[in-house]
């Protein structure tokens, strides 16, 4: 309990620092949102009016406090193009989160059984194939995997139509179907890393004394593996998978570009280009909150898997 409190305070402090950095960064880079919006036909009077309307004429501190104050109350301000930011983000979050979760599920389905299988059959023919394939897949960046998948499954095998994204509120089934391939593209390299990690970790644990003791007490391989070894072997894997989940949300930014998915990533990139500060700030804050929450959850899961960690704290 004390630990959770401590963590929560740390999280708020970190968020505070992030908010200042985000706010400063986007106010220091060149580019005037009003000039961007009005383009080449703008008159100086129009520019001045719009700057005033956007609140860009106030001092930096005033603007920060106004923004941060609103943010705490759940008011993320107005996008320069799309109206209230909360609504915009609420529209886009399901897309990116679904993509990340699907990738996570695919990663889990692929990597856990494969990792355990490879470890149990260490040195065997299939294990060798897994290890080599693993090494190759691991080194393929998601965007490249995305392009390959589009080419093979989209254009040659015609399993999906590249770019034919449909929104979840118009056709939920089509929505999931379209996200499947991008999710695989994100999941592949992460799965490969998980397999490698899990395989190594299980092999290491199998050689430990407690495993030998467990065998000598008459347990068969299955019991030793699932009751004793996996519990320990999973600790580094859970950490990695937690990080991978956070990474998948931010990694989907790239994949959204490749597969033409109008999610948070697309929103972030175009908003940076358009100098739509309220949107950029809100998305980055959102991603930071998410990464911190995932890390926090990983900590909690540790404690469930291995109660000793709590005792040390």
């Amino acid at each position: 309990m004390k630990y959770i409190l401590k963590k929560a305070v740390m999280m708020i402090l970190t968020l505070f620092v992030v908010s200042i950095l985000v706010f400063l960064a986007f106010n220091l880079i060149p580019g005037d949102p009003a000039a961007r919006k009005l383009g080449t036909e703008a008159t100086p009077a129009q520019l001045e009016n719009l700057r005033e309307e956007m609140g860009l004429n106030d001092p930096l501190v005033v603007r920060y406090l106004r923004w941060a104050g609103g943010f705490v109350k759940g008011d993320m301000g107005d996008s320069y193009t799309y109206g209230p930011v909360e609504k915009l983000i609420a529209d886009k979050v399901p897309i990116t989160i679904t993509l990340a979760l699907m990738a996570f599920v695919i990663m889990t389905i692929i990597s856990i059984p494969l990792g355990i299988y490879a470890a149990r059959n260490k040195g065997g023919f299939i294990d060798r194939i897994i290890v080599v394939t693993d090494q190759v897949v691991m080194s393929v960046p998601p965007f490249f995997a995305g392009i390959l998948i589009t080419l093979i499954f989209g254009l040659i095998l015609k399993l999906f139509v590249p770019g034919k994204f449909v929104s979840y509120n118009r056709d939920p089934a089509g929505f999931f179907a379209y996200l499947l391939f991008p999710a695989i593209a994100i999941a592949l390299p992460k799965s490969a890393m998980t397999v490698k990690l899990l395989r190594g970790s299980v092999i290491e644990e199998i050689g430990r004394d407690y495993a030998r003791t467990a065998y000598s007490r008459g347990n068969d391989t299955r019991q030793v593996l699932y009751r004793h070894i996996l519990k320990n072997a999973m600790i580094p894997v859970v950490t990695f998978m937690g990080m991978a989940l956070a990474d998948m949300v931010s990694g989907s930014i790239v994949i959204e570009q490749v597969f033409n998915i109008p999610g948070l990533g697309r929103m972030l990139l175009t908003s940076i280009n358009n100098r739509d500060y309220p949107v950029v700030e809100a998305i980055i804050m959102g991603i930071s909150i998410m990464v911190m929450t995932v890390n926090f959850m990983v900590d909690v899961i540790y404690r469930i898997i291995d109660p000793r960690i709590d005792a040390v704290d």
């Binding site: 961007r36 389905i109 856990i112 355990i116 770019g163 034919k164 449909v166 056709d171 179907a177 033409n260």
Partner: protein
């Protein structure tokens, strides 16, 4: 240890099973979302048009981007409407009368024109719309003194000074006076009505059945404007069928497309030039500017940038503005590096000089152009360094701050009048980014603006163009070619002399 455990196998099997279920689902779904065009008529088909960036809004009086205007062209109309030839035709006004001194424009409203919400257009709606547009501070409406309702069918606009080109500004969208927020609920009178919008994803419109101009009503019922944010996936998306049409593809993309796409070739209607800051040395010297005009060969640029397509220009006017365009100005400076060196020597730069061309990094064609120019200038001893900057920085520093030596960009005309291109060269224009100042030019421009005789106006505008050409205000290059890719399932794409994608003209190809 090598013994296989049954549990282990089940894990793998389960995983595989789920995977295969998921992929079968995907196959099944993509199967049924595929071609429904088997027995297609205009009514049953959806046309998906790719757009390079999302609209910057739906409120017709408050959007700026050319890419937005060309989409809204289908939803909103003004009292007059441009056609593909560059004529202004009466639209919501059936008749227009202009007072002899060109200060009073009286419009007779067309009977029975309906908004998308079913209400008829009234004089109040017109007055409201024009006043609302004026209130945005638009520079083109600065001179409007009064907008009066004469009677139920007539509305009169009074100007402070004579302006025969004012009609071209009356394309301002007419919207219902009681519309709460046009940005959320865009209602106009155009051939298509707004259905829905999803940020960064799409804008969906459908055919308006009560459109007043039945001769020009839309053919295709459902149209989706889909944001294609990633230029690298355009060819893939066209081939895969998730978009049917994409305006402004590059010549490379056009060549990658299969036979099932038709490439329409037109003009972008841009004045592309190497623009020089006339206030900084050495470009404040007319001889230096002229020398550069002699040293740059538009033909070579066109060959390099777009395989020879494109239209050479010699002043700040492009060919689709028919009567104002003067092709003879293309020959003011023919490529002549020796002459360029001579002029440079005369100006005191016998050994050349070096300068920077600042180009916005998002425009490949302008960057390519700048690179060819730099090569060409090298031959006469001028060293040009190319600096690419982000569009926002360009807008702020180069365009707004005039803090640059030279840049390559293209200017478009927002309305169908010569002043849309020529005003920016007058010495006190707010958008005179070139710091060009020439008393003769100002006088000719003023004369063109104040005359009410069309022939005389054309004469003065041509004089303006000639002055720009002779004083080498900029190194004019070309009107860039525009390629539009459209699936051969459709036909009827039409180019306009200003930014407009007239979807109403597109129909299913015969035999489909």
């Amino acid at each position: 240890m090598k013994k296989k455990s049954p549990v282990n196998r089940t894990y793998v099997q389960k995983g595989l099973a789920i995977l295969s279920v998921l992929s079968t689902m995907a196959i099944a779904l993509s199967g049924c979302s595929g071609d429904k065009a088997a027995d297609s008529s205009d009514e049953s088909v959806t046309l998906t048009v790719g757009i390079a960036q999302d609209l910057d809004g739906l409120d017709p009086h408050n959007v700026q981007a050319a890419g937005t205007r060309e989409v809204l062209f289908n939803i909103f109309e003004g009292l007059v409407k441009p056609d593909e030839e560059g004529n202004l035709n009466p639209a919501l006004a059936s008749e227009i009368s202009i007072s002899d001194d060109a200060t009073e424009y009286t419009f007779t409203l067309r009977d029975g024109v309906k908004f998308h919400n079913g209400k008829e257009v009234t004089a109040e709606d017109v007055k409201y719309s024009l006043e609302r547009y004026k209130d945005t501070g638009a520079s083109s409406f600065e001179d409007v003194q009064a907008i009066d309702i004469v009677d139920d069918d007539h509305i009169k606009v009074t100007l402070g000074t004579a302006n025969t080109e004012f009609l071209s500004l009356m394309t301002v969208a007419i919207i219902p006076a009681d519309l709460a927020d046009p940005d959320k609920e865009p209602i106009g009178t155009g051939p298509y009505k707004f259905v829905s919008r999803s940020p960064q994803e799409n804008v969906i419109v459908e055919k308006f059945d009560d459109y007043w101009d039945s001769a020009n009503a839309a053919h295709i019922k459902d149209v989706v404007f889909k944001v294609e944010a990633n230029p690298d996936s355009i060819v893939m998306d066209l081939e895969g069928g998730s978009i049917d049409m994409m305006p402004r593809v590059t010549s490379t993309q056009a060549s990658q497309l299969s036979d099932s796409f038709k490439i329409y070739e037109g003009q972008m209607n841009l004045v592309q030039a190497l623009y020089l800051n006339n206030a900084v040395a050495p470009f404040d010297n007319e001889l230096v500017r002229q020398a550069m005009c002699y040293a740059v060969d538009p033909e070579e640029i066109m060959d390099f940038v777009s395989d020879g397509a494109g239209f050479e220009i010699g002043s700040a006017m492009f060919p689709s503005f028919g009567k104002y365009f003067d092709e003879s100005l293309n020959d003011t400076y023919n490529y002549d590096p020796d002459k360029a060196k001579e002029l440079l020597a005369e100006a005191g730069y016998a050994d050349g000089f070096s300068f920077t061309i600042t180009v916005p990094s998002n425009y490949t064609q302008h960057i390519d152009t700048a690179e060819v120019i730099a090569e060409e200038l090298q031959k006469v001893g001028i060293k040009a360094e190319i600096s690419q900057i982000e569009w926002n920085s360009w807008l702020e520093d180069v365009y707004g701050g005039k803090n640059y030596e030279a840049t390559v960009i293209g200017f478009d005309a927002s309305t169908l009048c010569a002043s849309a291109l020529l005003y920016r060269y007058t010495s006190d224009a707010h958008n005179n980014m070139f710091n060009y100042a020439n008393a003769d030019y100002d006088a000719a421009f003023k004369a063109a603006q104040s005359t009410t005789d069309d022939a005389e106006q054309v004469k003065y505008y041509k004089e303006c163009e000639k002055i720009l050409s002779e004083t080498a205000a900029a190194v004019y290059i070309q009107d860039l070619p525009e390629f539009v890719a459209m699936s051969d399932k459709f036909e009827g794409y039409t180019f306009y002399p200003l930014y407009a994608q007239d979807i109403a003209k597109i129909r299913l190809a015969d035999g489909e």
